[in-house]
C-alpha cells in the first residue's frame, strides 16, 4: 500500500503536482482525514510518504499546512465545522494555512507573522490563546512576505474585526507539522543526493569521472549517511504519531533536529559536488538548498533542540514542553 501510494504520488509529482489532481484524482490531501468527511482514514505515515515525494520535486504546494489543518479540525471536536470544511480540504478546492498569534492574544486579532502557505489560502485556522478559530482567508489582510525559499510562500496576516468561528480548544500543531517537514526534507535530500551522485558519475575531469576522486566520493558517502539518519527519524516520528511506542513530542523534535541538519548538509554538499553548475540560478540545486535552510527555522526552528534537551537529555520531566 505504501509502495503503491509512493509510486502514484511520485508520478504525479514529477508531472507537476497539480493541487486539484492531488485532491480529487489521487485523494492524497485527505489521507489522514476520516472517510465520512471525504478522506481515506489513513495516518501520518501515509501523509509522510506524500510529503517526501512532494519534497523530492520541491513542489510548491501547501501540503504540510493542509495535513496540519485537517488534524486540527478533526481534533477540535467541531463536527459541523469538519463537515463544512474537510470535504473541500480533501478535494483541494479549499487551501488552508495555520496561523499562531502571539501569547496574550485570545482571539483572531493583530498580526500573525510569516504564516506559511498564507498567500492564497482560502481558509485560515488560527491558534489564539486557548482557542482554535476558523477565519475566511478573504476576510483577513494577507500580505505576502518576500521569502528566501521561493517555493514555500509566507504571509503576514492581520485580523481586524475579522469574523471568526471558534472551533474548540487550541491544540499544538507543531508536532504534526515537523513530522511532515522531516519527511519532506528526506525527499529534498534524496533528490540532491541522486543529483550529486549522477553528476559525479558523469562529470569527467582529469580524464576520469570526478566520483572516482575520494574527496567527491567520500562527500557523497557522508550525504548518504545524513539521508539515512534523516529517513529513520522521519519515519519514526510518523510511526509514533500513528502507533505510539515513543513520546510524540520527543520523536517530533528529534525528527526536526536531525532532518533539518541533514537536509542542510546534503543540499549544501550537493552544490559543492556540482561545482560551478551548482551555483547557477538555472540548476535546481539552490532551490533545494534554500528549502532546507529555511525549514530549519520554521515550525519551532531551534526551539526543537531545546525541547529535545529537556525531554531526553537534562533528565528532568519536561514532557509538557512544546516547541514553536
Amino acid at each position: 500500500m505504501a509502495d503503491l501510494l509512493r509510486e502514484t504520488v511520485r508520478a504525479a509529482a514529477e508531472d507537476g503536482a497539480d493541487w486539484r489532481a492531488l485532491g480529487e484524482q489521487l485523494g492524497v490531501l485527505g489521507l489522514a482525514v476520516p472517510e465520512r468527511w471525504g478522506g481515506s482514514g489513513a495516518g501520518l505515515g501515509e501523509a509522510a510518504v506524500v510529503a517526501e515525494e512532494l519534497g523530492a520535486v520541491l513542489a510548491s504546494v501547501p501540503f504540510v499546512s493542509t495535513v496540519v489543518a485537517a488534524r486540527l479540525l478533526v481534533e477540535s471536536g467541531d463536527d459541523a465545522a469538519c463537515a463544512d470544511l474537510l470535504p473541500g480540504l480533501c478535494d483541494g478546492s479549499r487551501t488552508f494555512a495555520v496561523a499562531s498569534l502571539p501569547t496574550g492574544v485570545d482571539r483572531p486579532a493583530g498580526t500573525a507573522e510569516g504564516v506559511v502557505d498564507g498567500p492564497g489560502a482560502t481558509d485560515l485556522l488560527v491558534l489564539a490563546g486557548d482557542g482554535l478559530f476558523h477565519v475566511d482567508g478573504a476576510a483577513a489582510e494577507v500580505v505576502p512576505v518576500p521569502t528566501l525559499d521561493l517555493t514555500r510562500p509566507q504571509a503576514d496576516i492581520t485580523f481586524a474585526e475579522t469574523p471568526a468561528r471558534r472551533l474548540g480548544p487550541a491544540a499544538p500543531a507543531t508536532d504534526v507539522a515537523v513530522t511532515l517537514l522531516a519527511a519532506e526534507l528526506v525527499g529534498v535530500a534524496r533528490t540532491m543526493l541522486d543529483t550529486a551522485v549522477t553528476y559525479a558519475r558523469e562529470r569527467v575531469q582529469f580524464g576520469r569521472p570526478i566520483g572516482s576522486f575520494q574527496a567527491v566520493k567520500h562527500r557523497c558517502a557522508d550525504m548518504l549517511v545524513e539521508l539515512e539518519l534523516a529517513r529513520s527519524v522521519a519515519e519514526h516520528a510518523a510511526r509514533t504519531h500513528d502507533h505510539g511506542g515513543d513520546d510524540p513530542a520527543l520523536a517530533s523534535s528529534l525528527a526536526h533536529v536531525v532532518a533539518t541538519d541533514a537536509a542542510r548538509r546534503v543540499t549544501g554538499d550537493a552544490i559543492q559536488v556540482l561545482g560551478g553548475v551548482g551555483i547557477t540560478w538555472e540548476h535546481p540545486a539552490h532551490r533545494y538548498y534554500k528549502r532546507a535552510v529555511t525549514s530549519a527555522a520554521l515550525w519551532g526552528g531551534r526551539a526543537h533542540r531545546d525541547r529535545l534537551a529537556k525531554l531526553a537529555i537534562d533528565g528532568n520531566d519536561g514532557r509538557s514542553s512544546h516547541a514553536g
Binding site: V197, P209, L224, S232, V233, H236, V258, L308, D314, G315
Partner: protein, 384 residues
C-alpha cells in the same frame, strides 16, 4: 517449521539443562545437539535447517533463562569461522570443528591483517608453499585477538605471487599449536593488549584443512569479512545506551551550558543511528547486511569519538587524570579509558576511509579509486 516449534525446543533445552546449574560447555553442547546453535545450519551440525530468521526466537528463550552467549566467549569462532567452515569446509571438517567451536572448548582467531596489509588486505605477503601433501606458511600477522588462547586460526596466505593480488590467495585452517607459530601480545594506547602479533615460520598446513580452492582465498575471505562487519556494526537498541548513555549520565551529574548544543547534536545523532540500525535490520529481514552495513560502523565509530571527546570536555581537569595503563580491566569503566579506546574505532575492522569507499562505490554506485595494482602480478606491486 514454524516459530513455536523452535521456541518449544528452546524451552525444553533450558528446562532440561538449567543454565544456572549447568557448566557452560555442557549447556552449549546440549544446545548444539538440540539444533539450536544456529538454526539455519543442517541438522547434526548444530542446526535444524530452518530459516535464519528463526534464530532470534531461540536466542530470546535462552537469554531469558540466563544461558551463556557463545559470541562473547568465542567471537571469531562464532561470528566468522563457523559460517566459513560450513560454507567452504569438507564434511569431515564440519564434524571435527563445529561442535567444539560452539561449546567454546576450542577458541578461534583470525590471521588476516599484516603490518604491510591493513586497508589493502588483499596485498598480504604471508606465503604458503607446497610441502609434500600439505603446505608451509611463513609471514607475520597482526591485530589478532584471542591468538594466545586460540586452538585454531583462519589463515589467509599467498600461494601464488605471480598473479594479481586477489587471485593468488588461499584460505586455510591453521593449528595454533604448531611449533612454527609464535604469539606476542601487542599493547595499545590504552595500555591493554587486546590484540597480538603472530609470527609464522614454516608453520604446517594440512591441505585437507583448506577452505575453498587454491587461489580462491579472497572470495572465501569475503564471507568471513561480511560477517565481521555485521557483528561490529550491530548495535544496541535501547535509547541512551552505549557511549551516549555515558555522556548523558555525566551531563546529568554536571551539566555545562556551553556544551549543551553539542550534546543535543550528539544525542540526536546517536538516536538517529539507533533508529537506523533498527530500520535497516527490519528492511533486510533475514538477508545479509551487505554494503549498507558499513554505515552503522562508520557513523558509530565517529560518534563514539565525538561523544567521549565531549565527556572529556565536560570532565575538565578531572579528565586529565587516568587510573593507569597496566591493562587492569577495572580501568575500562572510566570515561578516560573509553575515550582513549574510541580512537581505534575509526581504524579497526575497516577504517573510516575504507567504509566511506564501500558506501560510495557499492551503495551509491560511484566509480572505484584508480587501481594501479589491479592487473599487475603481486610480486611486482610496490609495497611498504
Amino acid at each position: 517449521m514454524t516459530e513455536h516449534l523452535v521456541v518449544d525446543a528452546a524451552r525444553r533445552l533450558v528446562a532440561e539443562h538449567p543454565p544456572a546449574s549447568t557448566p557452560t560447555e555442557e549447556f552449549l553442547g546440549a544446545r548444539f545437539d538440540a539444533g539450536l546453535a544456529w538454526v539455519h545450519f543442517p541438522r547434526g551440525l548444530g542446526g535444524l535447517g530452518v530459516a535464519p530468521g528463526l534464530q532470534g526466537a531461540a536466542d530470546a528463550v535462552v537469554e531469558a533463562a540466563g544461558g551463556p552467549n557463545p559470541f562473547d566467549l568465542n567471537p571469531m569462532g562464532y561470528g566468522m569461522a563457523a559460517p566459513t567452515v560450513l560454507a567452504h569446509g569438507s564434511p569431515a571438517l564440519h564434524e571435527r570443528l563445529l561442535r567444539p567451536l560452539y561449546t567454546c572448548e576450542e577458541i578461534w582467531c583470525q590471521l588476516f591483517s599484516e603490518p604491510g596489509a591493513g586497508s589493502d588486505l588483499a596485498g598480504l605477503a604471508t606465503r604458503a608453499v607446497r610441502d609434500g601433501d600439505g603446505w608451509r606458511a611463513t609471514g607475520q600477522k597482526v591485530w589478532t585477538s584471542k591468538a594466545h588462547e586460540a586452538r585454531w586460526a583462519l589463515l589467509l596466505a599467498r600461494t601464488d605471487p605471480d598473479v594479481p593480488k586477489h587471485k593468488g590467495l588461499t584460505y586455510f585452517v591453521l593449528d595454533m599449536r604448531d611449533p612454527g607459530v609464535e604469539v606476542r601480545p601487542l599493547r595499545q594506547l590504552t595500555g591493554d593488549a587486546e590484540f597480538n602479533e603472530v609470527w609464522l615460520r614454516d608453520a604446517r598446513l594440512d591441505d585437507a584443512w583448506r577452505l575453498g580452492d587454491v587461489g580462491a582465498g579472497w572470495k572465501v575471505a569475503m564471507t568471513t569479512l561480511m560477517n565481521e562487519r555485521t557483528a561490529i556494526g550491530g548495535g544496541s537498541i535501547e535509547r541512551g545506551s552505549g557511549s551516549i548513555g555515558d555522556a548523558l549520565a555525566l551531563w546529568r551529574s554536571q551539566p555545562d551550558p556551553g556544551l549543551r548544543d553539542r550534546i543535543v547534536t550528539l544525542f540526536a545523532r546517536a538516536d538517529a543511528l539507533r533508529l537506523t540500525g533498527m530500520r535497516h535490520a527490519a528492511e533486510r529481514g533475514d538477508g545479509p547486511a551487505g554494503p549498507m552495513g558499513s554505515l552503522g560502523k562508520l557513523v558509530g565509530a565517529e560518534l563514539n569519538q565525538a561523544v567521549y571527546e565531549l565527556c572529556v570536555d565536560l570532565l575538565g581537569t578531572a579528565g586529565t587524570r587516568h587510573p593507569g595503563y597496566d591493562g587492569d580491566p577495572a580501568t575500562h569503566d572510566t570515561l578516560t579509558w573509553k575515550f582513549l579506546r574510541s580512537r581505534a574505532n575509526t581504524i579497526e575492522g575497516g577504517t573510516a576511509e575504507v567504509l566511506r569507499g564501500i558506501l560510495a562505490e557499492r551503495v551509491l554506485g560511484l566509480p572505484g579509486d584508480i587501481r594501479v595494482d589491479k592487473d599487475t602480478p603481486w610480486r611486482e606491486v610496490p609495497r611498504g
